[in-house]
Subunit: 247 residues, 2 copies
DNA sequence: CGTTTCAATATGTATATACATAATCGTCAT
DNA sequence: ATGACGATTATGTATATACATATTGAAACG
């Protein structure tokens, strides 16, 4: 076969061979076709399947291993690892992406929507801002199970357009990003016992531990939004990986 | 030169050649010796410098490019990119400082210390490393109240000196920093209900929610330590503030 | 003077090959 | 049974080589 060969995808995109192998396998894993624990084909089998050299297969597999999707064991083979919801703590995380990374269908459902003049608590949450606010409560689903409860406060003085949006099945997070350039954010992460209401909403036992992530966002010194995500403890682990700067 | 050669570091650790090149360059960049915009040596120069093949150099550089530390341009060379870090939110936090910031007297007390050959669980926690480990359990106090329980595993192959340290009232965290330059860290944050033992140690009710922060640290690709901090929910909130810096 | 062409160059991707290393399995002796 | 040991196997890392591709800079041309 000719060297440095490239492949045409259905959509006409050109991918290098090792990238094609990589995305083929990743797709198999993310779609659930290859469940956690499943042994993926040996290098020599993939070599035959893709009609390429072992080096090329090895490069793809090493990359998947480095990304944490698979685990490689000498003499035994390569195995699909347990999925790890990798919410980037430090990024504006999109719950849809987290859920879909688990291979589950995502859905958002609004529970409550209220426009009001900011009260004392609202001001304290948003950080020193008066004026009208939009209060939203919604539930993120992974499949049929509640994945996270979201309680959000939007500063309408900063994002007036939000008052015309119903947020019935669009989550406010993705809606806000792109519309409002944020310049600063603060996260607070803590553990909490679910009270009656929350337990009922999330379909867990009262008193069960929950992970609470609160985020305040500013745009040019103006508070934009305060959001509180409440995750049942079992459903969620935040993972953040750093290199002093990246590497 | 012989194939599959490995190099001895000062400390006696073995690194693959491409990892050595990788960390050499990363160090140059992170230390500031090579400022953003600086052109790093061509592949053929590094090939000569390390007396290895271009493939090996290429692998290291591709990895750095993928990680975003450098940018590669055909015909022009490879250049150090503008740093685009996401503020290290969950920086190696020092519990002493947290406690003293609350205006309370700080104290550390060792509960358990055990040297042992790493078992399967140890290896999985540390991430694929065999060899002897040091297991430590200790309690951080704020005033008279337990503030956090620490369970730590130190890879003695990486930090041999630790085996001579008793850690009776010095917490291993501060001891390790300064002795071992970390190059990578991973945090996992979750909520958990306290079991009997933990509840007893922390002087809280069984079943009460706790915040669990686990951190794995690597130095030059070698696992150094795994630590688990367990905080009673009331005592602790992680706060992370950052601004986007986009490069 | 501007544009087109072309060679040089650094990186990108693939090949085949070689040997190292870790884990597992079967064999054989105890 | 059980433990020691060597063969086997899959991955890990390195080599040398080959050709592709993007970009630059200089030469050739209108």
């Amino acid at each position: 076969m000719s060297m440095a060969e490239t492949a045409e995808m259905e959509d006409g995109e050109t991918l290098s061979l090792h990238q094609r192998i990589l995305s083929d396998i990743r797709e198999k894993i993310l779609s659930g076709a290859w469940a956690p624990g499943h042994r993926i084909p040996f290098e020599h089998e993939l070599t035959a399947q893709y009609d390429c050299s072992r080096m090329t297969v090895n490069k793809a597999l090493s990359q998947l291993a480095k990304a944490g999707l698979i685990e490689r064991r000498r003499r035994s083979g390569s195995f699909v690892r347990q999925p790890q919801s990798q919410a980037a703590v430090l990024e504006l995380h999109d719950i849809r992406i987290e859920v879909e990374a688990l291979g589950l269908p995502y859905r958002y459902e609004r529970l409550e929507r209220m426009k009001r003049r900011g009260n004392a608590e609202d001001r304290s949450l948003l950080g020193l801002s008066a004026g009208p606010v939009l209060w939203l409560e919604g539930l993120h689903f992974a499949g049929e199970r509640p994945f996270a409860l979201e309680q959000r406060l939007i500063n309408l003085s900063a994002v007036g357009e939000a008052s015309e949006e119903e947020f019935l099945d669009i989550a406010p997070g993705p809606w806000l990003i792109g519309r409002v350039p944020w310049s600063e954010a603060e996260h607070r992460i803590r553990a909490m016992a679910a009270d009656e209401t929350i337990a009922d909403t999330l379909d867990i036992d009262p008193g069960a531990p929950c992970l609470v992530v609160e985020r305040r966002t500013w745009s040019a010194e103006h508070p934009v939004t305060h959001v509180r995500f409440i995750y049942p403890a079992e459903s969620h682990t935040l993972v953040a990986r750093f290199t002093p700067s990246q590497g």
